[in-house]
């Protein structure tokens, strides 16, 4: 253990004296935190652009009902409504006005929207009355006078005649969206909800089921708080896989490994000394990242003992992967390339920066095979949802990874050339 500590302290001192090394070690996670917190949680608008073409015009003015419908859409606070002249051909307009800042979504309110809506609502009201009268006749006939029953029959005949005179075609709103628009299904659902509620109001009924909103987390958390577990996990992973791989292959190229191998230092002490140094480094930088998050973004999360244990397990696991890569790949440039090739796809595919539900199905399956997925998910459960029990999978996956890769590192680290 003394030798492990000797290697650890030498490596840590060496790292602490590398100004550029420290600068870039800090820069990477801080930049990620700033970029993601700004993009996803900053002051930018969260509304979606929706173009509206209102063809329902009377005397050169939009009808009251079509205006009310557009007002109902605006009231959701979801849409940035932009009116488009009805003479504009959508396809031509989109081609001539390309946009990189939003996706085109166009809602067309047809001519006759008000008239059809009113007649359809009348038709529905009549159906409801007819239905009510029929049920009344069937269930309460025994309690009614014969004269009353005849009056009811007369009324039903009158309503049937009246309904027959009404236009039956319902008003149909057209929503034109881009095939690549990932938000289109969700936005269509919102518009459908508004239309449904609008229809209910037209027939004089209330929405029976209502929804009320409440934040999932009772404590007041900021966007950066939700990103923080993902950042910590992704950072520790890149630090281990890219950092350790690069360091080990450089030590081998520069002769430090041979110098150590020529002493009675056991190979496992060298490996554990390196892993310990990278792990402490990960802890230091994680602490710095949380402090910066606290100062700049008002992050409120503080890792508890479970989070620290999971961070420790993750750091050991990913540093072990780095030790293996650095041990296997002789060329420094190739080792750096391999580290990047593994770390970056894992960072983006594991769902550390966005929910994996937003990814295609096959990528969601890929994510389940990536240890980083269990790492950030475990940290999220512990730090945000205060549910350490749910992080057990993370501990098991990362712990297994750590043991397996330390054993592989022991095998592939050459203390003696054959």
């Amino acid at each position: 253990m003394k030798r492990v500590y000797a290697i650890f302290s030498a490596l840590l001192k060496s790292w602490l004296r590398s100004k550029t090394g420290i600068f870039f070690s800090f820069l990477f996670p801080v930049m990620l935190l700033i970029i993601f917190s700004t993009v996803f949680g900053g002051g930018g608008s969260s509304q979606y652009v929706l173009f509206v073409q209102n063809f329902d015009v009377q005397d050169d003015a939009p009808t009251n009902l079509s205006t009310a419908f557009i007002g109902a859409l605006e009231a959701t606070d979801t849409f940035d409504i932009r009116h488009l002249d009805t003479t504009v051909d959508i396809k031509t307009y989109v081609r001539e006005n390309p946009s990189f800042s939003f996706r085109y979504r166009v809602l067309q309110i047809p001519h006759g929207f008000e008239e059809k809506s009113l007649s359809k609502s009348m038709s529905v009201r009549i159906d409801v009355v007819m239905d009510t009268l029929t049920i009344m006749e069937q269930q309460y006939a025994a309690y009614m006078e014969e004269a009353d029953l005849q009056q009811v029959e007369k009324g039903k005949a009158l309503l049937t005649r009246l309904e027959g005179t009404l236009p039956t075609e319902p008003p149909v709103i057209l929503l034109v969206t881009d095939e690549q628009d990932m938000a289109a299904p969700a936005l269509t659902g919102i518009i459908y909800g508004v239309a449904n509620s609008f229809s209910n109001n037209l027939i004089g009924t209330e929405d029976i089921v209502t929804i009320t909103g409440e934040p999932l987390e009772q404590r007041t958390l900021k966007v950066a708080d939700y990103f923080l577990p993902g950042f910590i996990a992704a950072f520790i992973m890149t630090n281990g896989i890219i950092g350790a791989t690069s360091t080990i292959s450089e030590y081998r190229r520069d002769g430090q490994v041979k110098r150590m191998a020529a002493t009675p230092l056991p190979k496992i002490s060298w490996i554990l000394g390196n892993i310990l140094q990278q792990t402490v480094l990960a802890f230091i930088l994680t602490g710095v990242m949380i402090i910066l998050g606290w100062v700049i973004f008002g992050v409120r999360l503080i890792p508890n003992v479970y989070a620290l244990l999971l961070i420790l397990t993750g750091a050991v696991a990913f540093c072990s992967v780095g030790m293996v890569l650095g041990g296997v790949i002789k060329d420094v440039e190739a080792a750096n390339g391999a580290g990047n090739a593994i770390a970056f796809p894992m960072m983006f595919l594991s769902g550390a920066f966005w929910p994996i539900e937003q990814m295609p199905d096959y990528l969601q399956i890929v994510a389940k095979f990536l240890p980083l997925h269990y790492f950030h998910d475990g940290l999220l459960q512990i730090m945000v949802y205060k549910n350490p029990g749910q992080s057990l999978t993370g501990f098991v996956v990362l712990g297994t990874f750590a043991v397996v890769f330390i054993l592989v590192a022991l095998k592939v680290t050459k203390w003696k050339e054959l």
Partner: protein, 306 residues
């Protein structure tokens, strides 16, 4: 004399290349023994087998009585090594690097004494990366020496150094011998081997082509002492014909070759008896001549056989 290294028929093969081809030699306690030859001759492979950093294909080797294939830890605890192209943690100071090795060996040496003996005490607080090439090698030797080993391996200790730094390193190596250490040295500098070694083995293409004390090697393969009389005439030619092993008359004068220094001195005295009009110089045989004689070529500054 006690043998500290015994090598018998040592062979090292990498796929289709034979790096060390069945060599045998012994190293005795307290001597400086050199493996001398051009690049890729098998010098480093040989010492790395003895340092337990490589596995031999066949043959046997013992270091301080321990087999290199079965007693790695015992050997590593008793030897000091300065590998080829020596490097260490660049951002650590001289003292920190030496202390690291002491902690690995679990020893508590008088580091000041070690650093003073090797002339790096003044640079003790400087980072390794800030040192000159010569100082770096001396730090390397300090690190090899910190565990007070019986036997030191110095692999190409002066390669790439300027002449001044090289000679300073030689002084350090001579001091190691005075300290009672046995030193195994590899080098492609013939001058260095001649200046430092008690015994040497000339190795070319994985094979030892000669091994003995440096004096014996020079006397056997050095080609003798050459006395050149720049304005030599018929009288000199006749004199040398009587005294020298070989006589060559050429544009620059007459050159006689003598087996020993005494014979050359006697010839020189005879030349001056003939008159003081002659310009005479003596060229002593060297390891360079030995190598040239044995390998049919010379080794240039970069270690290439030319």
């Amino acid at each position: 004399m006690e043998k500290v290294i015994e090598v018998e028929e040592l062979l090292k093969r990498y796929k289709n290349v034979v790096a060390v081809n069945g060599i045998s030699f012994d190293v005795y306690r307290g001597e400086i023994f050199s493996l001398v030859g051009p690049n890729a001759a098998g010098k480093t492979t040989t010492v790395e087998i003895l340092e337990c950093l490589r596995t031999p294909t066949s043959g046997s080797a013992t270091v301080l009585g321990f087999d290199v294939t079965t007693n790695e830890d015992a050997i590593k605890r008793r030897i000091g090594v300065m590998p080829q192209d020596f490097n260490t943690f660049e951002r650590l100071t001289v003292t920190e690097n030496v202390e690291l090795i002491a902690r690995i060996y679990n020893v508590k040496p008088d580091i000041e004494q070690v650093l003073r003996e090797l002339g790096v005490w003044e640079a003790r607080d400087r980072r390794f990366e800030a040192l000159s090439g010569g100082m770096k090698r001396r730090v390397g030797i300090s690190m090899a020496l910190v565990s007070d080993p019986e036997l030191l391996f110095l692999d190409e200790p002066t390669t790439g150094l300027d002449p001044q730094a090289r000679r300073e390193t030689w002084e350090v190596i001579r001091r190691l011998k005075k300290m009672g250490k046995t030193v195994v040295l590899t080098s492609h500098y013939m001058e260095e081997v001649e200046a430092l070694s008690d015994r040497a083995a000339v190795i070319v293409q994985g094979t030892i082509i000669a091994k003995d004390t440096v004096d014996v090697l020079i006397s056997q393969y050095g080609g003798g002492f050459k006395v050149n009389v720049a304005n030599g005439d018929k009288r000199i030619e006749e004199l040398f014909t009587q005294l020298a092993e070989t006589v060559i008359s050429h544009e620059k004068g007459v050159t006689g070759t003598f087996q020993t220094r005494q014979e050359a001195s006697k010839a020189l005295a005879s030349v001056y008896q003939l008159g003081d009009q002659y310009t005479v110089d003596i060229t002593e045989p060297s390891m360079d001549d030995v190598f040239s004689q044995l390998a049919g070529g010379r080794v240039d500054e970069r270690g290439e056989l030319v």
